[in-house]
Point group: C2
Chain length 294, copies 2
Amino acid sequence: MEIRVAKTAGFCFGVKRAINLAEDCAGGGDGDIYTLGPIIHNPQVVKKLEESNVYARNDLDDVDSGTVIIRSHGVRLDEYESASEKGLSVVDATCPFVKKAQENVSRLLEEGYKIIVVGEEEHPEVQGLVSYGGKNVTVAVSVDELKALPRSGKIGIVAQTTQNIATLEAITAFCLSRASEVKVFNTICNATTLRQAESLDLAGEVDVMIVVGGKNSANTKRLAELCRPIQKRTYHIETACEIDEKWFEGAEIVGVTAGASSPRWIIEEVITTLEGLSDYSSGSRSEKKEGVSL
Amino acid sequence: MEIRVAKTAGFCFGVKRAINLAEDCAGGGDGDIYTLGPIIHNPQVVKKLEESNVYARNDLDDVDSGTVIIRSHGVRLDEYESASEKGLSVVDATCPFVKKAQENVSRLLEEGYKIIVVGEEEHPEVQGLVSYGGKNVTVAVSVDELKALPRSGKIGIVAQTTQNIATLEAITAFCLSRASEVKVFNTICNATTLRQAESLDLAGEVDVMIVVGGKNSANTKRLAELCRPIQKRTYHIETACEIDEKWFEGAEIVGVTAGASSPRWIIEEVITTLEGLSDYSSGSRSEKKEGVSL
């Protein structure tokens, strides 16, 4: 069974940067260290950081002193301000692309646009983005959710950085019938675009598609959703333990991709497990797509 | 044979206004009166105005004195300026919606956007719009024409007022992959949107579709193009003389729509001719859709 691994599988720039900052803090030894929410959406990475005494806290009320690290997805404006007001030492690990999207929301507010954030309402990045847009921001991840949107003079649109471009396109097209002016910041990051495009290509070449990443990782879930219509034998797993031999009956080629918050060691475990599947003979790893460096 | 006439068939607000202004000039008796290009894209209307001594001239060089009427589609910025510089009395019959689109192009230029005008390059309205956008405006009426567009930081889009919304949506969606910021003015006028929607509905209800309007009228041609995939028996005619009985073999219902530059009397002639087609018995005009007032 041949294993083809997507070049873009695994940590993106923003996630690598956040982990590095957290590891630097852990090595610094300046009192207690917390992340506000999990630093990235990967339980295994969060657990590893705990072993270095960096603890995730969901609420600022649970942090009275020490260092607080702002996670890669960013936080709400009021949380950011509270952290400073409490006198905590703030290390901002917000992904620079998320930061840029937050700034774009602020700009649309200043310029008087009715703001739409394209993303999942419950995702912390989206909640952060919304907090920069004043009181009347609409969140949507499909045109259906916007059917009741009243006509506005000016609509401004910003996307969650890990959204799918087709969703942004569809919502933008819809808004053209609801406003005489539509300003769109395409804040979907390049890493997302490349990863989605490569994963889609790979899904079309293989017999089984494995998508690796946290079950709470929106970008990983989206990868699996995008691959599934092309390759119905698509499985979203968090770790190698979940792999089931039955998935590979008759399969000659297996594709592996991974979300932006999946560390290299978890992807390696998955590949090793796939290689070792006793019922399947060759277990060769394709060099064509290989080349992840984290 | 039942005849269903689209409510929105015929003169739009901007055309009515331009014709009224021209007629007012004709009644004023202040020297020679010219329109810069045909005032609207309907040869019969232009001919009628000539009978009132209002003459179409394609070039300002052919006008030395008197009054010049700026046609409903607008003119290029340099033509507008030249008319004033020549000391001509200028009556601006540019459709207010076209004027707004010209202002939007100017604004995008000031704000540093790479400008795209969605429209037909050879159309005078489009040439007028382009002239407000400085040196590097791209004109396109399909995504295919933009394949070579380089990435830009900011793309600004304005549409010819009579364009089809689906074309604007497709080009906007494409531009999202070519820029981090896309600002779109949906300058397609409401009359166009309603007329296209109603004509499409009508084309689906009838056995033959008649689209009335100047052969040089882009909005009329577009109406016919939109109707044809739904009703292959769609005919674009300029006047009743072109009607051919053979088109109606076996037809029970005929739909009639008309472009924005078609006067009521031409539409009435078409309806009367259809009613009188000797081979077909009832010749009833549907009241359901009827209700054009010009």
